[in-house]
Point group: C2
Amino acid sequence: MEHLFASTYGYFRADGREYVITTPFTPRPWGNVISNGDYAMMVSQTGSGYSWRNNAGQNRITRSFQDLIQDNWGKYLYLRDLDSGQYWAATYKPTCHQYDHYQVRHGLGYSSFEQIVQGIHSILTVFVAPDDPVEIFQLTLTNQSDRQRRLDITSYVEWLLGFAPDEHREFHKLFIETTPEPEFHALLARKYLWGFADELGRHNNIDWPYVAFMAVSEPLKSFDGDKESFIGLYSSLEHPQAMQQPTLAGRSGRFGDAIAALQVEITLAPGERRTVVFTLGAALQGSEDPLALIQRYTSVTASDQTLQAVHAFWSRLVDAEHVETPDPALNLMTNYWLKYQAISGRLWGKSAFYQVSAGYGFRDQLQDCQIFLVCDPALAKRQILLHAAQQFVEGDVLHWWFSIRGGGPRTNCSDDLLWLPFVVDSYLQETGDVAILDEMVPYLNGPAEPLYLHCKRAIERAFSRFSPRGIPLMGDHDWNDGLNAVGTQLRGESFWVAEFLYTILERWIPLAQQRSDEAFAERCTAVRTTLRWAMNRYGWDGEWFLQATTDAGLPLGSQQNEEGRIFLMPNIWAVISGITDQQRAWQAMQAVSRYLLCDYGTLLNYPAFTRPRSDIGYVTRYAPGLRENGGVYTHAATWSVWAYALLGDVDHAYEAYRRICPPNRSADIERYKAEPYVTPGNIDGPQSPYFGRGGWTWYTGSAQWLHRVATHWILGIRPQIEGLLIDPLIPATWERFTVRRTFRGAIYEIEVLNPNHVNRGVISLEVDGQPLAGTVIPAFNDGQTHSVRVVLG
Amino acid sequence: MEHLFASTYGYFRADGREYVITTPFTPRPWGNVISNGDYAMMVSQTGSGYSWRNNAGQNRITRSFQDLIQDNWGKYLYLRDLDSGQYWAATYKPTCHQYDHYQVRHGLGYSSFEQIVQGIHSILTVFVAPDDPVEIFQLTLTNQSDRQRRLDITSYVEWLLGFAPDEHREFHKLFIETTPEPEFHALLARKYLWGFADELGRHNNIDWPYVAFMAVSEPLKSFDGDKESFIGLYSSLEHPQAMQQPTLAGRSGRFGDAIAALQVEITLAPGERRTVVFTLGAALQGSEDPLALIQRYTSVTASDQTLQAVHAFWSRLVDAEHVETPDPALNLMTNYWLKYQAISGRLWGKSAFYQVSAGYGFRDQLQDCQIFLVCDPALAKRQILLHAAQQFVEGDVLHWWFSIRGGGPRTNCSDDLLWLPFVVDSYLQETGDVAILDEMVPYLNGPAEPLYLHCKRAIERAFSRFSPRGIPLMGDHDWNDGLNAVGTQLRGESFWVAEFLYTILERWIPLAQQRSDEAFAERCTAVRTTLRWAMNRYGWDGEWFLQATTDAGLPLGSQQNEEGRIFLMPNIWAVISGITDQQRAWQAMQAVSRYLLCDYGTLLNYPAFTRPRSDIGYVTRYAPGLRENGGVYTHAATWSVWAYALLGDVDHAYEAYRRICPPNRSADIERYKAEPYVTPGNIDGPQSPYFGRGGWTWYTGSAQWLHRVATHWILGIRPQIEGLLIDPLIPATWERFTVRRTFRGAIYEIEVLNPNHVNRGVISLEVDGQPLAGTVIPAFNDGQTHSVRVVLG
């Protein structure tokens, strides 16, 4: 077996869809994880995984904050030898047992835990059904000893049935009811209280609208629905009282601390193998039948079929695009893991080890949904329309909202609303589907209008928040949430918002013209002119661009500053937006290369703040080098690749990419301390003693963008209204790469040859054997496969 | 040693100030406690104990929600034998070690953990300094083996430094900094983020304003400030990595998961005894010096002195009143534990095992402060004025508020505001200090006015919320928070609020007249007349009084109801308020006796709701028999004693008291499952399979009231404006009881004799040897002790 990337902890399997770990734990950067963490949790947190309910409007499995089934994140299966009385678990936690072999494989939509303990080989494979809210635990045991073994298997989960984390379990558990269904080998759970207000705004007055269940494929030996009798007064999950007793206590009802513990017994002859299946799910009352779900999934055959369906499900999403380049890390991440992370972690799971999201962020999942553009643009469209519906007629938006029942904060954030026209433009470039602009979408406080008007209202709202100098106001903050004190009095300015708006206007002026909205097009043109002038007049600090001015008029990201002298965002977006001339663009990016591009990616600012500044905001309160305070904030670091590429600076573009591409950190995993197959939200900067340490993996908007900068700006395959542009910017050492991807209803098999070892420059382009002038391949829309041969030189 | 009450778990020491437990755990009713719980937590939760900061305006030690030092509630001391490498802890958790002896003593303001493990006898005594924000851990070790022992002692706490519970540790820990101070054998901790908004309303933009510390009396062998290195990636607090390594890792700074682990080493010759002192505290930046606090308290001498000061501190508060009756449970609770619970748990600690309070409840601590009336009325006065300052000029109040920085919800609760005039009246009865009515107190939205006008505005606000039938509206809810859907549309009525208002008006009419506020007195009189008529016209259900009508006009607490047919509150308050005639009063209380007075106290309603009713509220969502849904809600159950006593129904009064007096549950502790020395918030009713199980101990307003009904309505010693009324209502079997208490600056030593074994009726009364006509002893105000001899007959 080929190990593409191997580290102390594990390696990728050759096809890149599995990461194999050979110790009980992957590295986790911060300590909380240690005491709570276990693999079962990681699986469920990170697979398509933990995900429980069909999310309204999504029709996909998702775990959502409002609707979590479990309180304790561990889902455990205890194994007990009934002759010796010794017990262990199918995962390392909670029993922390001795083992002869231990290996975990994380794949797309599943994880498998394999071990040999006391002569019993076990493989636990965990996954969620693609089309129903059911998690499946498939446990296969093989007796490798030379004597018959009598074992029992005991599941353990704690019912939560509501908001997570539950900050007052003692109260909420009073409303849960568990009911055994012995005929179905199951325990059901309901909750008579849900944290949302009812129609009259009264809290604590509605049911949790699901029926949760745990079931097992074998007849029950015994069960327990109460934590107290399971653990015992004097003990813990590491050695629960239940493992000292012949059977479980059989408690259920409304008066305990609700769990689901199901116990089954099996006997294994020497060499014999048996599979037992546990299921965990939640059925919407009135439209789903928990018992039918149990029957549908709780068998060996059904679980085998469902695992195959999981593979097919993810294959459809990831295999619509495939790249092969000389860079195996780029291939691995682009083909599988970034898509998987963006879709399962961000768009559907909405949570990770370090963060449980309360819903959709307006900017966040809007950017993320660009990951669907190649494989299923309809899903991107649905997400766009969903976000548009979170807008007010005044143009501003809910900064985030609960994805189940709606509701969220209306703030003075200065950029969230602008991501709507930005992402609509991306969608148009990929699909050419201008009909989306006529989709009627309601406002939160007004009747439906075409999506075009939603975007226009967002832009016009941004127009209403300018400083007298012609720079957009910072408001409560811009993309950098931690700048939350810079401009709350509506005097401080954001130079980055100037650039971002400038970028969007460039794209929206032609759209307005196409719709004969001349007045708006002219207004946008005028604003664009002002922005360019004002930005270069007031935003230039001499060697780079300023980030902001504060309400008091002080500069941020200036040579005048001792800390926070230079910020990444205004300098890379100066290039991305084209708001400045080539000379300043180069100068700004030279400063980025000099001060911000460090060994582990591009820093968000430098030097970090070492002292809190109450006129800037909480970014200054982080330890210096952490997250937005002088760390590599991965989301923004991906954009530095874009900016370097736009300048044609291939070396820096590729370095800025390579240094944050996770598999490249496999070799120094003890420093990196994060999973090498997903992007982290941040990487410690040079002022941290843990320089290079990855933090907050999975739940980060960087996954989609790292995918996008690789395909669009390194491989240079960029959808445009007119067709598919081919403009690679690659290391000169590359001989060749291929990209297979769908584009507007056809498949493009693109081969790019680089015989002269250049970085850039298409000298010939053939489609289906015919030469094509220019670098834009037309949209064929014919359902066929087209071969594209490109030669650089 | 005499054991007043012994149970499976422990017994009281003869003087009643200690409860001794002989297993590692006291019983805990609900399961969550199991996995989180340990004795260290219990101590600190329940002593004067956990309590960290001088609370603004209180100048007392208190633990407050906004200001908690620790995240993990455990505070552990590991003991390790350096020759054998074996380790255990000074408490049973987290190591769950084998022991030869284990005993815990909970006293007023301290707890002691005594054990013998591997030949080492240890006593850990934990307490908080009376005058500084310092918790002290005094550990005395004795080598009972016959060889020299080398040991090290390692502390472990997790820094939180902010709101508890912390629902997002991964974020908040990024703002904590730890700094070793080896010269002081200490580790300091600061946090650069606090959950409160700054002056401009910006969140996440201020420092936590304290410096926390942990220190030890011996020189440091090593230390660690990081959870990851202490526990290790693969382990837990039960067997941390630190115990496998010769010294601690020595990490500190801003980049870990902050803890305080201090390690010291000692050598003990056979028979040798040594004491080591750890301290934990938090100094307010700018006004307190953490190093000075460390030096002041971190020594054996200082800790001994401080423990003596703790004893003296609590003695002053509890010994100002002492009763001796033939009922040892009544004596124990009245003399010590109810005072201690009300003051330490409710007024200062504001938290318990089951609930961490966010501040002061308007009604809650206002009632609780009556516990100060005998021992220190000035503290009651301060609390009253504090609450009055949480009122709006419109008369309504913050339902609760953060006790450190203020702020809380303004609701349509119908009774909270009325507790101000109610408790002011209690204060006046005890002290005669009518000058309090002239205290100038500001409103939240208006300038200061005399307290009298605050009370008047509360009453007038209540006047503005009546139904057309002359009954007060329920609003968002009344005393019973769970009735939170009955009247939110301002149509539903609360008959209990009618009675409560009637009670208050009786007392405030003469006060208004004394202040020549004739118009108000007349208005009150008129309202009182209406209330009486309307209550008896619309509130009487035939055999008892209704609780409420809903917005839809449906009755609650009526024979028409299948569930919730009868409620306790309107029936006992019909008697307490005097709103009805004697016949209906008796009839209502007969219904209480028949349907509500169960083996374990008086139920709040019956039958319990078994199905959620969205037009009533979350009370119907609890399991039937739990808490406000058909359980004994202890706060209200104390008032049933008052009502029976007012009727002269001594048997029921005494039974209603006896059944909820906690030590009486010692014998059936396996059913009760709660500490037998504090009141629980509730006791399961007969519809629960755990009928008789106590729940949510410590943080309950029932403590103060159980004290009050015993002294005022059973012993019958009731302060009144004119003097001290003596009107006992006692079991006929009692021969005699004594009460020593302060009253308006004098000490009254009261002996009540009952030679004829009656229940009630004073036939003679002598003061200082002189007969006195009537039953009211005048206020002497002379600082002297007066002996009072009372004969019943």
